[in-house]
C-alpha cells in the first residue's frame, strides 16, 4: 500500500474538520463539539466512567468475598479448609488474613513497571504531537513492552499461586482474586493490542501529527488502567 502524499490544502481541511472522522455525519462542521471536546475524546471519557462502575463492583465483590472467606476459615468451616493445602490454610489462620499469599516485593516491582509505562505513553503522545515519528514508535513500543512485562509478571504470579494451592474454583478467595486481577489483566492486554495496532499504523506512515488524538485516546485508556491497578494493588495487596 503506497503512502499518499498530502497536499497542504487537504491537510488544512482535515485538521479543520475536527478529529473524529465520524463527525462527517455532519456535513457542515459549524457546530461540532458544543463542549469544546472532540466526540472521540468525550466518548472515551464516558466509557472510562462506565468502567469505574465495572471495577467498583468487582472490587466490592472481592472485599466482601475475602472477608467472608477469612471469617469462615477462622470459624473452621471444613468445606473451606478442604479447598486449601494444609500448610497454606494454617498460615492464613495464623495471620488471620490472606497476607501470607502475597509476594509484595515482586508485585511492587511489576506495579512499578506498569506505572512507568504511563510515562512512556505520555512521551509517545508528545512525540506524535511534535511530529517526531521515530521517537513516537520507540515510546509506543516501550509502553507495549512494559505492559507485556506486567502481564508476564501476572501470569507468573497466577501460576505460582495456583501451584501453592489457590485454585479458581476452590473457594471464595480464589474466585474473587483471580476474577478481579484477571479482569484488570484483560484490560491491560486490550491496551497492549491497541498500542501494537498504533505501532503498525505508525510504521505504515499513517500516524501523523493530525492523528495525535488517537494516541491520546489510547493514552487515556492506558492511564485509566494504570490508576485502577494502583487501587487494586493498594486494596488487594497492601491493606491488611
Amino acid at each position: 500500500m503506497t503512502d499518499v502524499a498530502d497536499p497542504p490544502a487537504e491537510t488544512e481541511a482535515h485538521a479543520d474538520d475536527g478529529h473524529g472522522a465520524h463527525e462527517e455525519a455532519h456535513g457542515h462542521g459549524g457546530h461540532h463539539a458544543s463542549l469544546g471536546l472532540s466526540n472521540m475524546k468525550l466518548a472515551m471519557w464516558l466509557f472510562l466512567g462506565s468502567e469505574c462502575l465495572l471495577f467498583g463492583a468487582l472490587i466490592s465483590t472481592y472485599l466482601l468475598s475475602k472477608a467472608r472467606f477469612v471469617a469462615e476459615l477462622l470459624a473452621g468451616n471444613p468445606r473451606v479448609l478442604e479447598t486449601l493445602p494444609v500448610g497454606l490454610a494454617e498460615e492464613f489462620i495464623e495471620a488471620g488474613s490472606v497476607e501470607p499469599m502475597w509476594d509484595i516485593p515482586f508485585t511492587s516491582g511489576s506495579s512499578f513497571i506498569l506505572l512507568m509505562s504511563s510515562l512512556t505513553m505520555v512521551l509517545a503522545h508528545k512525540a506524535v504531537t511534535e511530529g517526531d515519528y521515530r521517537n513516537s514508535r520507540v515510546w509506543l513500543a516501550a509502553t507495549a513492552l512494559l505492559g507485556s512485562t506486567f502481564i508476564a509478571g501476572q501470569v507468573y504470579e497466577f501460576t505460582a499461586f495456583y501451584r501453592e494451592g489457590l485454585s479458581y474454583d476452590g473457594n471464595l478467595f480464589g474466585s474473587a482474586f483471580y476474577t478481579l486481577t484477571g479482569f484488570h489483566g484483560a484490560h491491560v492486554t486490550g491496551g497492549i493490542i491497541m498500542l501494537l495496532s498504533l505501532l503498525v499504523v505508525s510504521f505504515r506512515g499513517k500516524l501523523r501529527q493530525d492523528r495525535a488524538e488517537t494516541v491520546e485516546l489510547v493514552g487515556l485508556y492506558w492511564h485509566f488502567v494504570d490508576v485502577v491497578w494502583v487501587l487494586i494493588f493498594t486494596i488487594v495487596y497492601l491493606i491488611p
Binding site: 473524529g20 465520524h22 455525519a25 466518548a43 464516558l46 466509557f47 476474577t179 499504523v201
Partner: protein, 663 residues
C-alpha cells in the same frame, strides 16, 4: 475553515475508496432494500428497527403473559406445569423489561433525539448500528433458550442462590446471563454514542436549557444506562463464572453471601426502572404542550426534576430488599430516600397537569395516551409510595400488590407514553398519520383492558396472593378477581393488536391514496423536528437550524403582533426546510456493525455449550474489529451530486486513512 470550491470528484459508480482494507469488502452503497437495512448507519432507520424489534419481542412477551393469565384464570388449573410456569413468568418479565421497554426507549432516543437537537446523525453512526444489532442478537439468543435451554426460571431478578446450578441445572439461566450481557453491550455503546451526540452536536444556539424536554430525559436515561449496565454485567459475569467455571461467588457452602446478588442486581435494577420510564416522561412532555396549545409549565422544573430522579435513583435500591434482613438503619435510610424520590416525580405530574390546565385541549389519540400515562402512572406512583414504608412493604413484598404496582408504572406509564409517541411521531417517521378512529379504539380497549387486568391485582395482593405462584386452591378465594384479570388481559391483547392493525391499515390507505404529502408539520408542532419534511429526509437538515429558544419552531411560527397578541405569522410549510440534499454527504453504510455483532452470540453459545464453539465466534469478533478499525470512518456515500463545501480532501486516492478506533 478551508473551503475548497472544486466539485467533489465522486462521479457515480466510481468508488472513492481505492483499496479494500484487509482485502475485505468496500462499504456497501445500497440505502434501500434488505441490504440497505442490514448495513444502515442512519439513526432514523436504526430507530425504526429498534421499534420493530421491540414489537416482535412484545408479541413473545405478550404470549407469555397470556399463558400466565390462562393458567391463573381459575383455581387448580394445570395448563402449565410448575416448571413451565416458572420459565414463562421469568421470560415474560425479562423480555418485557430488556427487549421491549428498553428498546422502545432506544427507538425514540435514536430516531428523535438527533432530529430534536438539529444534528445530521449521531456522533458515531457505525457504533449506532452495532448497538442495535448486538441488542437484537442478544435478544434472539435469549429467546432461543425456549427451544434449546428451556427458558430461564429464576424470575427476572434471578436471586441467588436460587440461580445457581444446584437449583436451576438447565441452561436457561446461562442464556439469561449471556444473552442479556450481549444486549447490555449494545446499551452501553448506545449510551456513549447518544450522550456524545446530545452534549456535542447540538444545533447552533441550542444551549442545554433550550433543549426539548425529551432530549433532556434521553440524556439522563443514557447516563443511567452508562453507569448501571456495568454493574449488571459484573453480576452476570460472577454468576456465569459460578455456573460454568465453578467459581464460588454465590456458593453458600463456601460462606458466600447471596445478598451480594441482590445488591448488585438492584444497584443496576433501580436506575433501570427510571431509565425505562424517563423516555416516556420526555415523550409526554412533548405531546402535552403541543395538544394543550400551551408551553410546558415550568420547563426548568421539568428538567431538574428529571436530573434529580437520575441522581436519587442511585440511592434507593435497597427498598427492594426490606425483607432480606439488611438492618434497621439501612431500612430507615432507604425508606427516607425512597419517599424523597417521589417528590421530583410528583413535580412532573403537577407540571403536566398545570400544562393541561386552561389549555385548548385537542384530544387526539397521542394526547389521550399521554393523559393515560399521567393518570395511571400516578396510581402506580401512589402504590409505590405505599411500599416505600418498610412496615407496609413487609406485608406487600412478593404479593400481587407489587405486580400491580410495577405494571401500573411500566405498562400504564411507560408503554402508554410510548404508544402516544408512536401516534405523535409516526408521520415524521413514515409520512402518514395513523388512523384516529382506530387509534381511539386502540386507546380505549387498552385502558379498559389494562385497568381490568392490573387493578384487581391490588386487591389480590392485599388478600395475600403471592406472586410467582403457579396455582391456588379454590378455598383461598382468589378465583373471582383472577378471572376478571384474565378477561382484562385478553382485552389488553386486543388493544395491542389494534395498534398493529392500525399501522397496517393506515399504511394501506396511504398507499391507495398515492402517498399524499402530509407536510412537515401535521400537528402544528413546537420543536425543530417539525421544521423538516415528513418523512424525515435521509440527511435530516439541509442546513443547520439556528435555535434561539425552547420550542424554537413554535416561536418562529407564532409571534406577537402590534397589540402584543400572539398570532400565527408563518405556517409550518413556509418555514420548513425543503429537504434538498445538495452538498450533503452522509457516512456510507457498513457491513462491520452486523458482522461484529454476530460474533458475540456465537461466542456466547460456545461458553454455554462447548468452548470449542467459542473459537470461531472470537475469531469472527476479532476480525470484525480489525475490519471495522481499518475501514475509513470518513468514507462518504457517493451521494447526490454536488459540491462538498468543507471536506475538500476526498478525491479518488485522497487522504483516506485507516482510522484506528479505540472504542
Amino acid at each position: 475553515m478551508a473551503v475548497v470550491e472544486e466539485p467533489l470528484a465522486l462521479p457515480s459508480g466510481e468508488s472513492p475508496v481505492a483499496r479494500n482494507p484487509l482485502g475485505a469488502f468496500a462499504r456497501p452503497r445500497d440505502v434501500s432494500g434488505l441490504k440497505g437495512w442490514l448495513t444502515t448507519v442512519d439513526h432514523k432507520k436504526i430507530g425504526i428497527m429498534y421499534g420493530a424489534a421491540a414489537m416482535f419481542f412484545l408479541v413473545i412477551g405478550g404470549v407469555a403473559a397470556l399463558l400466565i393469565r390462562i393458567q391463573l384464570a381459575a383455581p387448580d388449573q394445570t395448563v402449565l406445569s410448575g416448571d413451565a410456569y416458572n420459565r414463562v413468568y421469568t421470560m415474560h418479565g425479562t423480555v418485557m423489561v430488556f427487549l421491549v421497554v428498553m428498546p422502545i426507549g432506544a427507538a425514540f432516543a435514536n430516531f428523535l433525539m438527533p432530529l430534536q437537537v438539529g444534528a445530521r446523525d449521531v456522533a458515531f453512526p457505525r457504533i449506532n448500528g452495532f448497538s442495535f444489532w448486538v441488542f437484537f442478537f442478544g435478544g434472539l439468543m435469549l429467546n432461543t433458550s425456549w427451544f434449546i435451554g428451556g427458558g430461564a426460571d429464576g424470575g427476572w431478578f434471578n436471586y441467588a442462590p436460587n440461580n445457581g446450578i444446584a437449583f436451576s441445572p438447565s441452561t436457561g439461566i446461562d442464556f439469561w446471563n449471556i444473552g442479556l450481557l450481549i444486549a447490555g453491550i449494545g446499551s452501553l455503546t448506545g449510551s456513549i454514542n447518544l450522550i456524545t451526540t446530545v452534549l456535542n452536536m447540538r444545533a447552533p444556539g441550542m444551549t442545554l436549557m433550550k433543549m426539548p424536554v425529551f432530549v433532556w430525559m434521553t440524556l439522563v436515561t443514557q447516563f443511567l444506562l452508562l453507569f448501571a449496565i456495568p454493574v449488571l454485567t459484573v453480576a452476570q459475569i460472577l454468576l456465569t463464572s459460578d455456573r460454568i467455571f465453578g467459581a464460588n461467588f454465590f456458593n453458600v457452602t463456601q460462606g458466600a453471601d447471596p445478598l451480594l446478588w441482590q445488591h448488585l442486581f438492584w444497584i443496576f435494577g433501580h436506575p433501570e426502572v427510571y431509565l425505562m420510564i424517563l423516555p416516556a416522561f420526555g415523550i409526554v412532555s412533548e405531546i402535552i404542550p403541543t395538544f394543550a396549545r400551551k408551553p410546558i409549565f415550568g420547563y426548568p422544573f421539568m428538567v431538574f426534576s428529571g436530573i434529580a430522579i437520575g441522581f436519587m435513583g442511585w440511592g434507593v435500591w435497597a427498598h427492594h430488599m426490606f425483607v432480606s434482613g439488611i438492618g434497621p438503619l439501612s431500612v430507615t435510610a432507604f425508606t427516607v430516600a425512597t419517599m424523597f424520590i417521589a417528590v421530583p416525580t410528583g413535580v412532573k405530574i403537577l407540571n403536566w397537569m398545570a400544562t393541561l390546565w386552561g389549555g385548548k385541549l385537542i384530544l387526539n389519540t397521542a394526547m389521550l395516551f399521554s393523559i393515560g400515562l399521567v393518570t395511571q402512572f400516578t396510581i402506580g406512583g401512589l402504590s409505590g409510595v405505599s411500599h416505600a414504608l418498610a412496615p407496609s412493604d413487609t406485608q406487600q413484598t412478593d404479593t400481587y400488590y407489587i405486580v400491580a404496582h410495577f405494571h401500573y408504572v411500566l405498562f400504564g406509564g411507560a408503554l402508554f407514553g410510548f404508544m402516544g409517541g408512536f401516534y405523535f411521531w409516526w408521520p415524521k417517521a413514515f409520512g402518514y398519520k395513523l388512523s384516529e378512529k382506530l387509534g381511539k379504539w386502540n386507546f380505549w380497549t387498552m385502558v379498559v383492558g389494562f385497568n381490568l387486568t392490573f387493578g384487581p391485582m391490588h386487591i389480590l395482593g392485599l388478600q395475600g396472593m403471592p406472586r410467582r405462584m403457579q396455582t391456588y386452591a379454590e378455598a383461598q378465594g382468589f378465583g373471582f378477581w383472577n378471572f376478571w384479570a384474565t378477561v382484562g388481559a385478553f382485552i389488553l391483547a386486543v388493544g395491542v393488536i389494534l395498534f398493529l392493525v392500525n399501522a397496517f391499515v393506515s399504511y394501506l390507505a396511504y398507499r391507495r391514496a398515492d402517498r399524499p404529502d402530509i407536510g412537515p408539520d401535521p400537528w402544528d408542532g413546537r420543536t425543530i423536528e417539525w421544521s423538516i419534511q415528513s418523512p424525515a429526509p435521509n440527511h435530516n437538515f439541509d442546513v443547520d437550524p439556528i435555535v434561539t429558544s425552547v420550542d424554537d419552531f413554535w416561536h418562529r411560527k407564532y409571534q406577537p403582533d402590534e397589540s402584543g397578541k400572539i398570532r400565527k405569522v408563518h405556517s409550518g410549510e413556509e418555514l420548513a426546510q425543503p429537504g434538498d440534499p445538495t452538498g450533503v454527504h452522509l457516512p456510507a453504510p457498513s457491513y462491520w456493525p452486523i458482522i461484529l455483532a454476530a460474533g458475540l452470540p456465537i461466542t456466547g453459545y460456545g461458553i454455554i455449550f462447548n468452548l470449542w464453539l467459542a473459537i470461531p465466534g472470537i475469531i469472527l469478533t476479532v476480525l470484525a474489529l480489525w475490519g471495522w478499525a481499518l475501514e475509513p470512518a470518513d468514507d462518504l456515500d457517493p451521494g447526490p451530486a454536488g459540491t462538498d463545501d468543507d471536506h475538500g480532501g476526498h478525491g479518488p486516492g485522497g487522504d483516506h486513512e485507516p482510522e484506528l478506533e479505540t472504542v
